[in-house]
Amino acid sequence: MSFSERMLKIDRRIIFLMIGLCTLLPLLYPVGLPIKISSEVRGVYDHIESLPERSVFLLSIDFDPASKPELYPQAIALLRHAFRKHLRVVTMTLWVSGTGMADQLVTQVAKEMGKEYGTDYAFLGWSPGGQAVIINMGQDLYSAFPSDYSGKSTKDLPVLDGVRSLKDVGYMVSLGAGRPGVEEWYVFGKDKYKFELGGGCTGVMAPGLYPLLRSGQINGLIGGLRGAAEYENLIGQKGKAVAGMDAQSATHLAIIALVIMCNLFYFSLRQQRG
């Protein structure tokens, strides 16, 4: 067995250990490298900046705990920004297993920013049907969500004053980890009800949403943890995403090194065999 062959056959648990360390060490000893802001993320930020006070901002938290590390920081940064701009924040989720997380997230940020439930923000909870919920909200918001998460009648919430359907929403951002997510909000929502739409998504989804970004169907895109870190930088309030960027850097370089080594060994092996 040649050297290359032996190297390629090493126990994969050694690599597991290496990746574990590459993640753990930067988390324990952060460096804090600067983060450049991309135009995709700026699109969402600028739009929220341009909204007048008390505009309605709808945030749909369309993910579950499996994508929490990527999308939770995005949601926190967006909510902080919206609360700081004194927008009326309405939140909801289309993913049943994300309900508890969304509730906790909204309550936590609202408490931190000193906002009051009902007048400054609301959490509508979850409703089944995905696309059906979106269309129904576009037709009549109170039909899709007759009551909010805690069971209060949505018609009595002052935060929804003057809002009858999605048409009255100033800005809507869907943080999607799959289906239903950003695409569904366009097809079944914005296509007909004409509100301004922004997107946030996991890294896996991000490349697939670029055609919608290019055609202006969404006016901005926050992609993965990196997108969240950019947003945290934009609002000047660093959180978990910025803290994770060093570890992200380390693991990416480790993976690149592994890919290069893999190919070096592979080609030397091929040469040996002729």
Partner: protein
């Protein structure tokens, strides 16, 4: 100083005139759409001759807005009136327009409520996304919609008086008061192109299906399929089994159906070469169907005695337990060929990596585009997206599948030619400033 409006008689006449125009709307729009280009070209020349140059920003004294029209907004759900008027020579940021509305009985425009006020060089027809087949005036005209707002409600079936005023400094000049009533419509003419595209594509698909039933249709060779034979051949040489996975979804997913069809072909080859076949499943119903398919394949190969019931077996529905079990099979039995067809999620990498480490030839086919990068790098051949369906159509020879494929191909040709012609016309339009390329480009715009 305010000037009083002209006679009420003229108002009524013009509103009646609009009713007539609305009644004719359906037929005339259809005719316009079908006669299309020639007619519109003529119209354009006529309009162009009326064009007033916008850049002559003169400080001449203002006059009442002319050619004002008020009518029910077409193609809407009701509750709205459209007001249009011709541009003037003094349209500029200094002058302003006011749109006023109120009860139909009001004859004095000064008594109407101000609905909108804006600089005279804004709110044009071209700002609203409309197509030429619904536009009744030139793009340079002004257009404002009168809708319900705070303190003013617009109800269907009620008549309203509407006027437009020009304001400059403390000068205000009114147009005549016009009367119209809003009503809901039964068709959104802006979406006519959408309807035509949807219907003609649907028709095309059914036509090509029926065509495929009557004729032989050529489908191109798919390289991944050729590799299937090669892989099975190698497994036979080495005397090792073949592993075939049908993906994570059940038979409701077209990709699983395609995987089952391709399994038929693989099983037939395996039977001919007398090579062992292993098909671990995640879904009991898919397993039962695949068992039938495998049995049939062995029959067709003339080797029914070699068929084993337990070639298809159920492991578990849980994603990672299933993956671990399949990885275990790969490590123990060292199959010489691994097939991954159908829908896959995060488990794809765990499967193909183990397969690659055992040195098997790996062939994948999936429409799960998020997993395709991993299949491409770890497998020897990958059927990408629609290639999976094409492979299945190619093997099953079913006219419905082949016909659909043909229909979609023609659809793609249409899209490609639209893009090609569109880009040429758009460039010509951009360079020459001509309007006529828009006649074609509007056909492929999403309008509401």
């Amino acid at each position: 100083m305010e000037r009083k409006p002209s006679s009420r008689g003229r108002t009524l006449r013009s509103s009646k005139g609009h009713e007539r125009r609305e009644g004719e709307g359906v037929r005339s729009r259809l005719r316009r759409f079908s006669i299309g280009f020639g007619w519109f070209f003529l119209q354009l020349i006529v309009c162009a001759s009326n064009l007033v140059p916008l850049d002559t920003l003169a400080q001449t004294s203002i006059s009442a807005p002319h050619d004002v029209r008020v009518f029910d907004t077409p193609s809407d759900g009701g509750g709205s009136l459209t007001v249009q008027w011709a541009p003037s020579s003094w349209d500029g940021p200094d002058a302003r327009y006011q749109v006023l509305a109120g009860d139909a009985a009001v004859t004095d425009p000064a008594a109407l409520t101000i609905i909108a006020e804006f600089p005279a060089n804004s709110k044009y027809v071209k700002d609203a996304k409309t197509a030429w087949w619904t536009r009744n005036v030139d793009k340079t005209w002004h257009q404002v919609l009168v809708r319900s707002a705070k303190g003013f409600e617009v109800k269907d079936g009620t008549s309203y008086a509407v006027a437009v005023a020009t304001v400059q400094g403390d000068q205000r000049v009114f147009s005549p008061v016009l009367v119209a009533s809003p009503s809901p419509d039964w068709f959104n003419w802006n979406q006519l192109n959408n309807l035509i595209i949807a219907l003609s594509f649907g028709g095309l698909v059914f036509y090509s299906i029926s065509y495929a039933k009557r004729h032989e249709i050529f489908l191109r060779r798919i390289p991944g399929l050729d590799a299937v034979d090669e892989a099975i051949g190698r497994a036979t040489e080495l005397g090792k089994p073949i592993l075939y996975l049908t993906g994570a979804h059940d038979l409701h997913d077209p990709s699983t159906i395609a995987a089952a069809v391709i399994l038929g072909k693989v099983a037939k080859r395996a039977a001919l070469y007398e090579t062992e076949l292993l098909v671990p499943h995640r879904e009991p119903i898919t397993m039962a169907v695949c068992q039938e398919i495998t049995k049939q394949a062995y029959l067709e190969a003339g080797k029914p005695d070699l068929f084993k019931e337990d070639a298809n077996f159920f492991i578990t529905a849980d994603q990672f337990s299933y993956t671990a079990a399949v990885d275990g099979i790969m490590l123990r039995k060292k199959p010489a060929a691994n097939f991954f067809m159908g829908a896959y999620f995060a488990e794809s990498l765990l499967l193909t990596e183990t397969g690659a480490s055992t040195g098997a030839i790996q062939i994948a086919g999936t429409d799960s585009d998020h997993q395709l990068p991993f299949f491409v790098t770890t497998c020897d051949y990958t059927l990408i997206g629609e290639e999976l369906y094409a492979a299945s159509a190619y093997l099953s020879k079913e006219p419905v599948q082949i016909g659909t494929l043909l229909g979609q191909d023609i659809g793609k040709v249409v899209v490609l030619s639209a893009i090609g012609i569109g880009i040429v016309l758009a460039t010509v339009g951009a360079v020459t400033g001509e309007q006529w390329p828009q006649l074609f480009l509007d056909l492929f715009r999403d309008l509401k």
